[in-house]
Amino acid sequence: MSRVPYVRTIPKVRWFLRHPRYIRYMTREATCLFIGAYTLLMVWGLRELANGPAAWQAFLECLRSPASIVFHVLALAFASYHSITWFNLTPKALPLQAGESFVPDGVISGAHYAGWALLSLAILFLAGAF
């Protein structure tokens, strides 16, 4: 009797269509595209700022366009989804043991949320929002 194992092939590109949990995973990965696009927008803004007051004003006008507002709303939603799902996973990566028991998951992810809020407030303060 000879061994002739059969190897099943997996589609190299559309592999994630095999299971809903893979689609969910790839959807989360795709949110990075919006975060990346927003980063490019920031770089563009910096360049316009360096180009002088007129260029900067034109850039600000551009940001007020309906398309820009839609993009910002989407980018904010996707960035929030990405951040929240990430913070909710932090207890897995950073378990803290105090004595015999582990610190509850909510405390670890909660600390991340608190840090997020504090940093956001600090940035808003530096930007003169208050």
């Binding site: 194992p5 059969y6 190299k12 299971h19 995973y25 996973l89 582990f102």
Partner: protein, 246 residues
């Protein structure tokens, strides 16, 4: 006890006669409280003795009867028929070559398991009088990762392993982490050679599928992320603080 006519659609493959696997339908009367493994056993005993599959304990301890049930990696002894109202599709564990019917070739996993040295490498000579001592807190640090039964469901769920078979994978790395976390162990440096390499944790993209399917709640995804963090700290320590003890 009620009975139900269960339709099983089982992937068959005979290496001596088949070019590729094909589905075969079996219709059998099963008790409602049975598991899929009971149904397979009834098929083998009364309908088709040629049907091949692995099983042993029938109580989710031995880890032998892992298979894809309706596309999900499951232990056949823990998959209750009542949870599957329609035709039940049974296939060998995904991402492993098929030896015959539902039996997979597990040589790859066995070799990877050996590579990560999943055993205690004492950091100091055995105490002259008595046993190694360990506090309850030290035990709790790694106990969760001792629950692995090597059933390989996590490998069948892991999309990375499916695409990149060189990946050492969830169970083997979790077991390495289990020993690394053990206060009696001193073998971490030897294991890092394997698990901190590109084919080790860095192949993991934290899909989390391994933890979702683990029948023993080992949470391999957590183990892998913890290994990533520790390996990153190692790297920074080596490059930014080379004078410190590695």
């Amino acid at each position: 006890m009620s009975e139900r006519q269960v339709e099983l659609e089982v992937l068959r493959y005979n290496p001596e006669t088949d070019k590729e696997p094909h589905f075969q339908r079996y219709s059998i009367a099963c008790r409602e409280e049975w598991v899929v493994l009971d149904a397979l056993n009834l098929v083998k005993e009364t309908v088709d003795p040629t049907l091949s599959y692995r099983w042993s304990c029938h109580m989710a301890v031995c880890g032998s009867c892992g298979m894809m049930i309706d596309g999900e990696p499951k232990l056949a002894c823990k998959a209750f028929l009542r949870d599957y109202p329609g035709v039940i599709r049974v296939e060998p564990l995904a991402h492993f070559p098929i030896e015959r019917d539902l039996v997979t070739v597990i040589d790859d996993f066995m070799a990877k398991l050996a590579r990560v040295k999943p055993y205690l490498i004492p950091k100091e000579p055995a105490p002259a009088n008595g046993e190694y001592r360990q506090t309850p807190a030290e035990l709790k640090k790694f106990k969760q990762f001792t629950m692995c039964i090597n059933c390989m469901l996590c490998y069948a769920a892991c999309p990375e392993y499916g695409l990149i078979p060189q990946f050492i994978g969830p169970a083997a790395i979790s077991l390495a982490h289990r020993y690394n976390q053990d206060s009696r162990d001193g073998g971490r440096a030897a294991r890092q050679e394997e698990i901190a390499a590109a084919e080790g944790v860095w192949e993991c993209s934290f899909t989390g599928a391994c933890s979702e399917v683990c029948p023993e709640h080992v949470d391999p995804a957590a183990a892998l992320q913890q290994v990533k963090i520790k390996s990153t700290v190692d790297w920074y320590q080596k490059h930014l603080m080379p004078w410190t003890k590695q």
